[in-house]
Symmetry: C2
Subunit: 425 residues, 2 copies
Amino acid sequence: MQVYAKMNAQQLLAAYAKEKAYFEECKEKGLDLNMARGKPAKAQLDAVSGILTVLSEPEDCVADNTDVRNYGELAGMPSARAFWADILGCKPEQTVLGGTSSLNLAFDVISRAYSHGLLHSPRPWCKEEKVKFLCPAPGYDRHFRITEFFGAELITVPMTPEGPDMDLVEEYIKDPAVKGIWVVPKYSNPTGIIFSNETVRRFAALKPAAPDFAIMWDNAYCVHEFIGDYVEFPDIIGLCAQYGNPDMVYEFASTSKITFAGAGVSVLACSEANVDYFLRLFSVQMISYDKVNQLRHVRFLKDRKHTLELMKVHAAIMAPKFQVVAEILEEQLKPCGFASWGNPTGGYFVSLDTMPGTAKRALALCKEAGVVMTPAGATYPYGIDPNDSNIRIAPSLPPVEELQKAMDVFCTCLKLAALEKLLGK
Amino acid sequence: MQVYAKMNAQQLLAAYAKEKAYFEECKEKGLDLNMARGKPAKAQLDAVSGILTVLSEPEDCVADNTDVRNYGELAGMPSARAFWADILGCKPEQTVLGGTSSLNLAFDVISRAYSHGLLHSPRPWCKEEKVKFLCPAPGYDRHFRITEFFGAELITVPMTPEGPDMDLVEEYIKDPAVKGIWVVPKYSNPTGIIFSNETVRRFAALKPAAPDFAIMWDNAYCVHEFIGDYVEFPDIIGLCAQYGNPDMVYEFASTSKITFAGAGVSVLACSEANVDYFLRLFSVQMISYDKVNQLRHVRFLKDRKHTLELMKVHAAIMAPKFQVVAEILEEQLKPCGFASWGNPTGGYFVSLDTMPGTAKRALALCKEAGVVMTPAGATYPYGIDPNDSNIRIAPSLPPVEELQKAMDVFCTCLKLAALEKLLGK
């Protein structure tokens, strides 16, 4: 095997014939494998199922002088707010607990910005002539879609190994129509990088033209290392305050990948002024979020220290899968020289850049062979990757054995698509 | 004791002195009683706490070929959709399960109408010059507040013993700016009446000028009788379809007063076309609602028949409280002749009309004496009762003994406020 770029036509044709034959072989196996979404594996869910019975009797349901089985406490149980403050390094008064989904909390923040405006908005965003939103890409499709849904113009900002290109961010925010930015600061989705301290500092120090500029700081993977020790992260809320921007950041997190996916507890962390503002808005839609589930989580997870112990159980299940991905990519793609990828130590994804102009085709081939991936382009605003190159690999769900098969098919499809392109097929 | 209206000045002064003395006596007791909100009592919560352990082991968490501990099934678990269809008399395909709160689902429907429009909207409501919303009153403050929040003009429609004044409703909907109506068809909040079949038929047959007119049909108390047998109710979705208005109605319900308040499962029921439309919208904000809790509810409540059995347990706790309210009102207020009230057989409230112009004052006196009630005016749009007369009594939370004390204080305060008015104090 050698680098495709150095092959002559005959060599390319031979490589193509070989990959094509193997592809047909794979197809005949009738596989049904999925690496599309960051879903925890069954083993992970089993490992945390103790949470099901942590509240068993009526008397278990009283905490903070509150019966969690009844209405009340819109901001969340005090002990649950304290739990999240411990995890995020902020103050309990800077947290508002939500339902099962931090995505829904982020949606609600943007939705309320649209209909009513944020704390410092001169007017609701729906009354603005134009709203633009910065989208570091590759990034998380569901983030981009929320701002697209509310009619914002999405502006792509390239990602670097240290985070979004901050020179560009600092330039874009001079435009008062630029109202915010989506980021995943730790184990970024999908690149897996951690924002450098300097990137985080530059975020906190931003002086946007829009008085209601919103940093949507999705700390979805804040305790989600799968290799190595826990990596500390700065308290962005305190840091923004330090730079005179206390109300600029909205931090999100959830237990979706700590306990149960889609049945955990989410949090919005922000300045006390923002907490007041949002509680006023949220009081129109809610009496109180699910405190039974909040208390289940507090009893089960206890605190940051205990949660980090539990994350090691997840890590032990996740690490071998990411190792398989790394090994197979190294073995099958490295020699061909047309693709590059990250080697994350936490989070849920591996981001891969294949030969420009071939990502869509490669994933269509994957589908043909029974392997479902996140659609190509999903990691870019509007679902359009201008280079048709980036692919998000989500190896968490399948068991290792299935993952090996899926990665094998995946690499074959990448090679086939690249060879097709080189051969002008 | 005699009817106040027939008393002379001297008699009124004597009555005032007596009530005033008793009021001061009450105040000295330093009571702390609450009849403000329709919260279930501890005994009710204890009676359903079996739901806490209905899912105990990992293997309990698989149903409908789905592991409820992982992401997926935005519309809800098939078995949970079937459960709600059984309760509401509609089809499973006509249901979308939400989080813990049907109020939040109703909010989301109006919020999306505002930002994106409903299925048949010519444009989003935020782009309309004017949106008006019909609010049968006395009604539910949190309903009114949602439409007020989104800038709609609230139009009061009087309630009758058969439901909202349908002659007026049929007149108002000729205005294309009138975009919808809030209703609680069974055990209406707060009057406790059940809409007559003719009222329900007239709702289904409405031909509003607005193509996107929305009947917000909050069936919050659909299985919530506390006296007597279960009262059947018509399937409003099927009925609307029968009258050629399949997409006009959005029905809401939840288990907030069946299992745990604020930790139950909610549902939006509507036409299949509306289900499709809303799933498309909801997919931007959610991956899936809490299926673990959905399955808990399906396993615990089973079906309509079993749920109705369970509601008898609630009824046995609720009935004596409503009896206390009825008895004390009868004994203390009837002879004075200045107030009238309902005698509901289900729901969570008793609606009372006191002497016009005295409700606010009476509840201020209650507060002084340590009894918290729903604020006067809350049952009317903008929180303003033009007659300052209607008061919502919520007797479910306090134990019977406390309730007796609270009702005693309440009646004294009503009398005192009425006497003050009659005496020009």
